[in-house]
């Protein structure tokens, strides 16, 4: 096994990982591992932009942004973290501009801003333009910028390395083991600080906006070390997935003024959010859509609705939403300057994840005690910026703000910490054994079938609307799937680029956290944000204004614990749009 050493090792090269690498790289020796080439990371798919209360196009302030974020998250977000997010969003946006991000511009040459669902001015009263964007390729531009800046900082990249385990001993993270996909060899990385920035996990659902790589790999890695996963039941379904692929049609389409119609030609949002209409938060719009579809008012009674942009005019569409236009032509053969776009809700974003403190340090007990040298940021983490439901454009901003904070914190930490503890084969033996065992499996189960059944059952039972009955069914079914997973064989005997093996590793992880999601969702007997229980349709602040912490015990069972929400500014109130 080859051994490598860096002060800081970052796992994941999306916006979060790269921002951290770039910042830490200013003073420390940084290595970045990613299972895909950095610019292939899922962050590149983000279209609509990143929220920051610059007030370039009308009045805005970070207090308004904070209020929207708190309320959008149905009061489950930690308000100290949320305050950091909305405050630091402003200098971070300027920093990205200074680094060269090609923002779209206002006529005066300032960073252009557009409206987005759930964002308002004057504490929910007026409209606001808050999303800073690069046409509809915002994530793409940010991802490339941060990759290039990391190169400039001399960050060392290990591309197409799949991390398979963390080495955590006595509450200290010493390094990790990764599979070099190109050769099939295992490598050990030793570091003083390790950051997980492995992104989201909506691939566990059948209809999803996420890339094939979004299999949530980071979560099972830490769960195995006894770290709990926080608020995993909160998974966002985006209202406008292109039918039938689930590929995302950015919320910018509604931000720019698109309308939603049902099969009867009615702008059905009137019924669900009369004042904000299409610009209500995502959970609200997705539920409205699902209700329309379930009650037979889909287009031609089918499983989709229409998103109409035609009234915006071809020029405006081509100028501000060029990528959406291209995407819809390519994947649905629809010219959205002339015809409405067929859409459906699509699994999109994971609010929950690895619990961290405000400096992105991973919390061993989910509350106070940190794992020394282990950090997490971006979509895989949960500082709880988004609570029960994330607002559009807040997540790339979270990845940037907290990736950056993590980078700075790690650089500071490694300056003070002792030398990198060198490890040897004894430390990595277990990790190696595990992979070798997987590689030589000969069972007759098919990974594809298990994956498909997982995705179908999660969509059916842990989808937009949930009930105790469905969730119980899913918890049981997860056991069956996990048993069957042990019988999956690997037909490809080669070492180099064995993607059958890497997909299997990813599937194992998905089964792991999907079970945690189901158990967490079953326990939460209320409806809040994206977690909507038909059997408990109301929010219950007395019982459930608290974060779920799900521990994977040594015997494989799941133990639930809870912690209070940080509420220091806005008291919970009814959420109406």
């Amino acid at each position: 096994m080859e051994h490598h050493r860096h002060d800081v090792v970052v796992v994941g090269a999306g916006i979060a990982g790269l921002y951290a690498a770039m910042k830490a790289g200013e003073s420390a020796d940084v290595g970045v591992l990613s299972k895909v080439y950095p610019t292939r990371s899922h962050s590149g798919a983000a279209q609509g932009g990143s929220a920051a209360a610059l007030g370039n196009e009308g009045e805005d302030s970070w207090e308004y942004h904070l209020y929207d974020t708190v309320r959008g998250g149905d009061f489950l977000g930690d308000q100290d973290a949320q305050e950091l997010l909305v405050k630091e969003a402003i200098p971070v946006t300027y920093e990205m501009e200074h680094l060269g991000l090609p923002f779209s511009r206002t006529p005066e040459g300032k960073i252009a801003q557009r409206p987005f669902g759930g964002h308002f001015s004057k504490f929910g009263k007026g409209p606001v333009k808050r999303s800073c964007y690069v046409a509809d390729r915002s994530g793409h531009a940010q991802l490339h910028l941060l990759y290039e800046q990391s190169l400039k900082q001399g960050v060392r990249f290990y591309n197409e390395f799949l991390v398979t385990s963390l080495i955590i001993e006595g509450g200290v993270c010493r390094g990790l083991v990764a599979l070099e996909i190109r050769t099939g060899n295992l490598h050990a990385f030793w570091a003083r600080a390790v950051m997980l920035a492995t992104g989201g996990y909506a691939r566990a659902w059948r209809v999803t906006s996420n890339s094939h790589a979004n299999t949530g790999d980071g979560l099972p890695l830490v769960a195995k070390a006894g770290v709990p996963l926080e608020d995993m039941e909160f998974v966002q379904f985006h209202p406008t997935g292109l039918y039938p692929h689930g590929i995302l049609v950015s919320e910018a389409a509604r931000g720019e003024g698109g309308y939603l119609f049902n099969g009867e030609g009615v702008r059905f949002m009137e019924k669900y959010a009369a004042s904000k209409m299409e610009l209500a938060p995502r959970d609200v719009v997705s539920r409205a859509e699902q209700t329309e579809i379930d009650e037979g008012r889909g287009i031609d009674g089918g499983e989709y609705l229409n998103l109409d942009l035609t009234h915006l005019g071809a020029d405006a569409i081509l100028e501000r939403l060029p990528q959406i236009h291209e995407l819809v032509v390519k994947f649905a053969a629809v010219d959205c300057t002339k015809k409405p776009i067929p859409i459906q809700p699509t699994a999109h974003y994971s609010m929950g994840g690895i619990p961290t403190d405000l400096d992105t340090r991973v919390l061993l007990d989910g509350k106070k005690q940190v794992v020394e040298g282990l950090y997490a940021s971006g979509e895989c983490a949960c500082v709880s910026n988004h609570g029960a439901n994330r607002l559009g454009t807040n997540s790339t901003m979270e990845a940037a703000v907290f990736g950056r904070r993590g980078g700075i914190a790690m650089a500071k930490f490694v300056r003070g910490a002792g030398p990198i503890l060198p490890g040897d084969e004894r430390d990595t033996a277990a990790a190696e054994e595990e992979i070798e065992a997987l590689r030589s499996r000969t069972g007759r189960e098919s990974a594809k079938v298990i994956r498909a059944e997982l995705q179908a059952s999660m969509t059916e039972n842990v989808g937009i609307f949930r009930t105790a009955e469905k969730l119980q069914k899913q918890v049981k079914f997860m056991q069956t799937l996990k048993e069957r997973f042990k019988e999956v064989g690997v037909s490809d005997g080669s070492r180099a680029f064995n993607t059958e093996l890497t997909e299997l590793i990813e599937l194992g992880g998905m089964l792991d956290f999907s079970e945690i999601i189901s158990v967490s969702a079953l326990a939460r007997q209320e409806s809040r944000g994206a977690h909507s229980r038909k059997d408990y349709p109301k929010r219950d602040d007395v019982q459930w204004l608290r974060h779920t912490l799900a521990f994977r015990e040594a015997d494989g069972s799941i133990r639930l614990d809870y912690k209070p929400v940080v509420i220091n500014r806005f008291q919970p109130e009814e959420r109406k749009y």
Binding site: Y37, T39, G44, A45, G109, A332, K448, A496, F497, E500
Partner: protein
């Protein structure tokens, strides 16, 4: 509908010689070539190897040659293709396995053009201003997804993989054409070198190949004009 896919197979651990293997796939409506490749991998032959991630044409993973044309497998509808569909890896790069090529050199060339803004101290209290017209200069440049389809199609790159290639030169233009950038002089060293701008013979294969309808030749030509203005 049943369609046949003739796919380039190469696995040096098994055989030193590449071959083609034909698979029959029951293609569903609206399937892309990537959907079909996934179906083959998952149902018929687990050893078939290719890269994919975003599956909607934004990450650049799945660049390959489909019926003789470079493109993104995830964007090309199977219905739009006729007859037996031939799928090959991108030419010009070393093939690692099946449809997977070695992109390290490609990315090293991107790095070589110093793809970062080189500029003086920015204002402390806000953004640099840039007019919408100035910003427009970057359209057609910043959208590149680094899929490699252009460089793979360039005859000059085939015979000389030290040539920076259209993608790296387009990336250079992305920064050079930015009105905020002051680093052109620093980049001259690499642009005006033996394997830089002058290895492009305006063949336009790159333009033909780019799945994002970008125009690397135009970018290259703009760099030459800039250089001409600087030198004369």
């Amino acid at each position: 509908m049943e369609r046949q896919f003739r796919i380039y197979r190469y696995n040096p651990e098994v055989s030193p010689t590449p071959s083609f293997k034909t698979y029959t796939v029951d293609v569903q409506p609206a399937w892309t070539v990537l959907d079909a490749l996934n179906a083959i991998k998952w149902d018929q032959d687990g050893s078939l190897t290719f890269r994919r991630s975003c599956r909607h044409g934004i990450c650049g993973s799945c660049g390959m040659k489909i019926n003789g044309k470079n493109g993104l497998a995830c964007e090309i509808q199977v219905e739009s293709l006729k007859g037996v569909i031939t799928v090959e890896p991108l030419h010009g790069f070393r093939i690692l396995r099946d449809l997977v090529t070695d992109m390290d050199g490609f990315f090293a060339h991107i790095e070589a053009v110093k793809p970062w803004l080189i500029a003086g101290t920015p204002p402390t209290d806000g953004e640099r201003l840039q007019s919408p017209e100035d910003r427009k200069q970057l359209d057609g440049l910043y959208e590149c997804i680094l899929c490699g389809a252009c460089t793979s199609a360039c005859p000059s790159y085939w015979v000389n993989d030290d040539f920076l290639g259209p993608a790296a030169l387009l990336k250079a233009a992305r920064y050079v054409m930015d009105t905020r950038d002051e680093g052109f002089a620093e980049r001259v060293d690499v642009l005006d070198s033996r394997n830089g701008l002058w290895r492009c013979h305006t063949i336009f294969n790159c333009v033909e190949a780019c799945p994002k309808s970008l125009n690397p030749t135009e970018a290259i030509v703009k760099l030459r004009q800039k250089l001409t203005a600087l030198k004369i």
